[in-house]
Symmetry: C2
Subunit: 515 residues, 2 copies
């Protein structure tokens, strides 16, 4: 079967739910009368002590059994100690066959490979997969295909019951003795707990793991006590220095800066740059740097943004303090500056992932974006974006909120260099579609800018910008001219991962490469 | 059948769900494996305009039909215009047979009587009933008995699906064009939206009604856009001066002040008055005034409370500012001072009603109370409290959080004068049990203090206080001596209301008085 993104998808995929084909970004609706899922009702009356002495006790108390689904949040990113620590404790108890459904995996989760190999974990659902773990899960694969979902798709799946979390383990930078949690304070403060808020609300059993256990009650409360079953104190939940490593960079690379300057110019001319606009800038180098150039334009034209959303980085906090942005909505704080801003500036608002980007609620914040600037590993002539697999077909990225913000924004701008090394990044067809071209408007490269022909309004608006406008085919031709047309990968038929669109349809599949 | 509070309850009650007898404050648990209810899943994709031109359009769009259940919140109390206005519009559309389930009724809802009489509204579920409406619903009654629930019982019923709200109409003091709401700003600012937050989260369709429509997005957000279907702008949602009328009084009555001083002394001696204690003082005159005397003790002994909760009044905000309370949790702001404090002091935290007092979650805030001071219309020798019916048996009060806080607190103190006029307030048996004596520890009257014999520890601790300790029977005898033993009311068999305990069991029934 061919889906609306032009991909061949099998009618059924072993180990995966019923296949529903991607039918366009806004074509699929919830089943009529379907209701939001809810966790098991529990009555905790006065006098119950939630504090347990060890992870072992908490795993015992949680009722975790073979075959269940567990979750973690990734706000501490590469600095998180909790996911590895808990799975280590679970493995020691002899529990097997778990589905692991964190909000994302990062490089530090390479330590989990032995637990996959030993059968402690037999399935995974995630937004991102990187490093050796990503390679293992692509090249060896698991019994069931890994489900890769954008942030909005994950919370949608949780809220409509497709992803039922039996036990959520929450890294809690500050936790009081009755389970109120925030991420703003503590030795491993991570800022927003936007992902964890969803898991705490929806999981049947929730275990808070903290290295900063304080008197009841705290202020502020990001995750309330009435969602927490058990609390365990450990020596350290992580190193916040690990938050701003990996994908998150502030760049001095001239190519990135050129693309950033170009993206800022696209924003200026595309038609939505006016008082009160809303924006998201992704965490990639060029996206982050766009803010720097946009700031100059905002100051010059005296244009103030009503909001900026997404994962939040320091430069946005500066704009907030300067009065160039009226309020920030933060689902993930990407650096020390944003953590401090979330703590100190009341206009820097923490919000959860359903509020940010769930397609199946009464209107997520991404719906109100005028602009989003995001990165790409690869873009094709249909404006499809790949951020998930590398040139060998190996999973090494994260959907994050990319498909969500792209669907929501009036103007979605993708920054990608024409080549990486000798490899063309604008191609006939991306290896994996992670964001469909239907939701992508402008491709910014270091050699030219292409506008989706579905948006003649943008093409018209950008004519006065002085930017080097080209067709996407011209960009591809230039890339092929400089780098050569890439040879097709040698790929088996075996499906190792399903890439879900935010609405739960199958956007693409990832097949095992033959290396 | 006799329930655990000693009341005769029929095995079935016409027009009411299956009767489950009250079995003690912590005896009843959710059905095993029962899950939290959820509203209908809706996918609102970009571009949808939620703003409608009139209440009429919103009622049409909401799909409201004969026989459905609608809800309102009462944060604007006697100043609210929205409930009457919306039901007026519903009546004009010819819709009939509705169940009306607001968080409470107030005197201003007497205007609804014609709609009950005309069959627009045929059933009611509420925390409180007052004025002519209360009299009408007791003396005439409705086809189904009115269900009277404490705040914690209402949110429990909503969250476990017993009270399914088809359409919630939310008075929104500030609302942006995509449905984000707060109660902190606007001409009819009411402070906390603790009740409305629950209805917005759980109702199938949610209509925001505002007189302060502002640009998207606002800061802070108390009710998020993703829970709101439609928005209607009206001239005025209410008069905030109406908040602090009725039940809420700051007193100069010497009898109230005496009881307040006594209650403060009970707090000092009962055993929990130490650094970090937690308290709630109800909205009654003596309860509020207790704060004034307690403040002096706290200053003298250098004891700071970790928290105060419940509906919040100005005196608590002063204690917060003085550093005598570390943080406030506010589910309902009872005066202009508390609204301003919620807006300006980050340690004054807004929270919703499930967090405050739902017995069926993983631990509500009432569970962490050391002390609560509350009022009573009547108390009996079993320490049962009545706040619901007057001496004629007519409904004229509100359970509010009374049963919830009483169940949660380590020491529950009830202030009631020995007599009102010539009527004894300490009796053999209260007319209606609204809070069971199992959860009441100390009765403070203007003539003496009685401690529940189930609490020998408190009796022991209070011996050093110098307070006039008496048995509850001595207090009753004194009351009868002064006022005469009240004659039993002439009451029919017909049940006009069911008083549910917070866990959904039947604590008592209210029968139609023969006047």
């Amino acid at each position: 079967m061919i889906n609306a993104a032009g991909r061949e998808i099998p009618a059924s995929i072993q180990g995966y739910k019923e296949v529903i084909l991607y039918a366009g970004p806004f074509a699929t609706q919830p089943t009529p009368d379907a209701r939001k899922a809810g966790p098991i009702l529990k009555a905790v009356y006065p006098g119950k002590d939630k504090l347990l002495q060890s992870l072992d006790e908490a795993i015992e108390a949680s009722g975790l059994k073979d075959g269940m689904t567990i979750s973690f949040h990734h706000a501490l990113r590469n600095g998180d100690y909790v996911m590895n620590m808990v799975i280590d404790a679970i493995a020691r108890r002899g529990i097997r066959g778990l589905t692991l459904a964190p909000s994302s995996f990062l490089d530090n989760n390479d330590a989990l490979i032995p637990y996959f190999e030993q059968g402690v974990i037999t399935a995974a659902q995630t937004s991102g997969l990187r490093g050796k773990l990503g390679k293992m899960m692509t090249v060896q694969g698991l019994i069931k295909p890994t489900i890769v979902r954008p942030h909005g798709g994950r919370v949608r799946a949780i809220e409509c019951g497709e992803l039922k979390i039996d036990v959520a383990f929450i890294s809690a930078p500050t936790c009081d003795t009755y389970g109120n949690i925030n991420g703003a304070y503590g030795p491993a403060a991570c800022g927003s707990l936007g992902y964890a808020m969803v898991d705490a609300r929806m999981a049947d059993t929730v275990v808070a793991i903290t290295d900063n256990l304080v008197d009841h009650p705290i202020c502020p409360v990001s995750i309330p006590q009435y969602q927490i079953d058990y609390i365990v104190k450990v020596d350290s939940i992580g190193d916040p220095k690990g938050i701003s490593t990996g994908a998150l960079r502030v760049t001095s690379n001239p190519r990135d800066l050129l693309m950033a300057k170009t993206a800022a110019k696209v924003i200026e001319y595309a038609g939505y740059f006016k008082e009160g606009f809303g924006m998201q800038l992704g965490a990639g180098a060029a996206s982050v740097a766009t803010g720097k150039f946009l700031r100059e334009t905002m100051l010059r034209d005296k244009v103030v943004a009503n909001m900026a959303i997404g994962g939040i980085l320091g430069p946005f906090c500066d704009l907030l303090d300067e009065g160039l942005i009226k309020t920030l909505f933060d689902t993930q704080s990407f650096d020390a500056r944003s953590i401090q801003s979330l703590r100190d500036n009341p206009r820097h608002q923490e919000y959860d992932c359903t509020f940010y980007c769930n397609p199946w609620n009464k209107g997520a914040m991404v719906n109100k974006l005028d602009y989003v600037v995001l990165g790409a590993t690869e873009v094709d002539v249909n404006f499809n974006v790949n951020v998930m697999t590398d040139s060998n077909g190996i999973m090494m990225g994260a959907l994050g909120g990319h498909p969500d913000a792209s669907a929501g924004a009036k103007c979605t701008i993708i920054c990608a260099p024409l080549l990486r090394g000798r490899l063309p990044m604008i191609t006939d067809a991306v290896q994996t579609i992670s964001t469909p071209g239907d939701t992508v408007d402008v491709i910014v490269t270091d050699r030219g800018v292409a506008v989706n022909p579905k948006r003649p309004d943008l093409i018209e608006n950008l004519k006065g910008s002085g930017l080097p406008l080209m067709t996407i085919e011209q960009l591809r031709d230039l890339a092929y001219e400089l780098g050569g047309k890439p040879a097709p990968l040698n790929i088996s038929e075996e499906i190792v991962a399903v890439v879900e669109y935010r609405d739960g349809t199958v956007l693409d599949v990832i097949r095992r490469p033959i290396l």
